[in-house]
Point group: C2
Chain length 197, copies 2
DNA sequence: GGGGTTATGTTGACGGTGTCAAGATAGCAT
DNA sequence: ATGCTATCTTGACACCGTCAACATAACCCC
């Protein structure tokens, strides 16, 4: 039986995720429909429903994969970091992750999944694990350099917000050009580090 | 002729914008459709097309109105600011603007308008005017307190990114709870201000 | 191997969406 | 009064997510 004529696809689950990623990068989440996906996988409109409960579930699976990459990046860059240049390097890497896959980043953090739809338990888990890794890595890095009474969690939240906000402004195309992005981030890191003894 | 039976609505343009705002706050941008809007205004499906070129144009008009409010807030809070507590107050006001109208804020800065659709010239204008007002206000405020060689524009971009990122994380429901938001912002402002002489 | 259970894939249908085309109506200026 | 133009209408089209009902194949147990 030929590959194209067989009734069962064989690996539709992964094929769908892969095609979804392609379509996401090509056209953004707006242009990602289950029907297009099914067609690209050479399968009928409703076949995907045997592998994902609904569109939200598929998008959550996609975002979960992306978070796994980001989590790996965080651990790789932050666990070996010791000085300000290391932090700068981490931030640059983070920004590149976001700007090289803007649609993916939007999906990971946007309200499509976190508000409009209900995020999967799996997605929540890895998203918060990523933040925990960041917070722990940063705390270790700034050990003894924070002013007394400064909650490391708050510093982690504030600094993530800065990086995240920069990503958002850049990939959404407002206020920060991609060429300026790294300069802005360097300024931000320098300012914060200057405040630490 | 009764109000409901007349052929011409009379003030459909503004009615649409008003209903759109209501629907946006109630159901988010996902739940905002031109057809619902038309029905609420007591008019047929395609009537709105005589007042807005397409859905994108209507959303841009909505966002433009919202930017006018934000712009007013910026000027009100920042032009009279002189010290760190004033900055804290401004940030708090900004955060409240975003968290009290999360769907509106999402629309203003989200990629729905800035990437997927083409932002109106009008929208672009007021969005950038708002940022300029912020940058100018902040520069005046920090006059002479920035380390030499520090570009005020970069500081404006970095600090806006911080505030914006905090808003995004909070209203998208990830990493920052609404109760923690103000504490995080205070930490961020304190850190940055500590770096300035 | 035969037969039943389960996983997977199919077509048909429903209500929703944005938007275009063509025609109806009303206001307004000449 | 007549014609122009703004406004509003119905009809239609191509999409979309998703449910129900049915078809096929794989797999497991006897």
């Amino acid at each position: 039986m030929t590959q194209s004529a067989r009734y069962h696809h064989g690996d539709l689950h992964d094929t769908l995720l892969q095609e979804a990623n392609t379509l996401l990068n090509e056209q953004g989440v707006e242009g990602l429909s289950l029907r297009k996906l099914a067609e690209r996988a050479g399968v009928s409109r409703t076949a995907p429903y045997h592998h994902f409960r609904d569109k939200n579930a598929l998008l959550c699976a996609l975002a979960t994969r992306a978070f796994a990459q980001l989590d790996a990046l965080i651990q790789r860059q932050l666990d070996t970091a010791a000085s300000e240049p290391d932090i700068q390097a981490f931030v640059i890497e983070y920004l590149r992750f976001a700007t090289e896959n803007p649609e993916q980043y939007e999906l990971m953090f946007g309200r499509t999944l976190w508000k409009s739809g209900e995020p999967t338990a799996e997605l929540k888990a890895i998203a918060y694990r990523s933040f925990r890794h960041y917070a722990e890595g940063l705390s270790a890095l700034l050990q003894g350099r924070l002013p007394v009474g400064t909650d490391p969690l708050r510093v982690a939240q504030a600094s993530w917000a800065t990086i995240h906000g920069l990503c958002r402004l850049t990939i959404d195309g407002i206020y920060v050009n991609q060429e300026d992005m790294e300069a802005v981030s360097q300024q931000a890191v320098a300012l914060i580090m200057a405040a630490l003894k």
